[in-house]
Amino acid sequence: DVKVTQSSRYLVKRTGEKVFLECVQDMDHENMFWYRQDPGLGLRLIYFSYDVKMKEKGDIPEGYSVSREKKERFSLILESASTNQTSMYLCATVQSFIYGYTFGSGTRLTVV
């Protein structure tokens, strides 16, 4: 089975800090995604990547950046964390549209 590992389950950071959320997959998948999930708003796409060093903005990229230097790792960066970025962050990966996404367990980030 494909495994998607997010480095932290829970994270507490201070306003203004630079925050790195890491996601690693163990199956050579081309496509990787970062979503945030908030009550009442469902999952919203922040960024996705379809190849190494390639990235595309999703619906809510403001305040975030991403890095994909290696195929297996897709990092989400909060340049200067703010309280409105407190959320559950979910990483996902998929190889082909005939299959569903595989999600990591999520990182619940609290910015204080």
């Binding site: 979503y35 999952l43 999703g58 979910l90 082909s96 569903g100 996404y101 999600f103």
Partner: protein, 114 residues
């Protein structure tokens, strides 16, 4: 922006009963998928139905798709307490480089009482 909208937002049933959740979407799709999320965890893929399919089964799950109405339903038969979770529909409109970026609805919270 949310493409899919689930209905109802919350559902409470007794163990053994069937649970039906509905999803409506706005634009044409390549496929529609259903996911399950246990509290505080990541999503797990349940089933995918392509736009040229009308019905699909997987164990106790039955999914239907009506592209003319832009709607889908997920039926869980003979529910168990372990089915308690949130269920999300997601649509793939294929309109990007990846070809398979999903847009998720807000989810249905299902509670199955023992």
């Amino acid at each position: 922006s949310q493409q899919g909208e689930e209905d109802p937002q919350a559902l409470s049933i007794q163990e053994g009963e069937n649970a039906t959740m509905n999803c409506s979407y706005k634009t044409s799709i390549n496929n529609l998928q259903w996911y399950r999320q246990n509290s505080g965890r990541g999503l797990v893929h349940l089933i995918l139905i392509r736009s040229n399919e009308r019905e699909k089964h997987s164990g106790r799950l039955r999914v239907t798709l009506d592209t003319s109405k832009k709607s889908s339903s997920l039926l869980i038969t003979a529910s168990r307490a372990a089915d308690t979770a949130s269920y999300f529909c997601a649509t793939d409109s294929g309109a990007n480089n990846a070809g398979n970026m999903l847009t998720f609805g807000g989810g249905t919270r299902l509670m199955v009482k023992p």
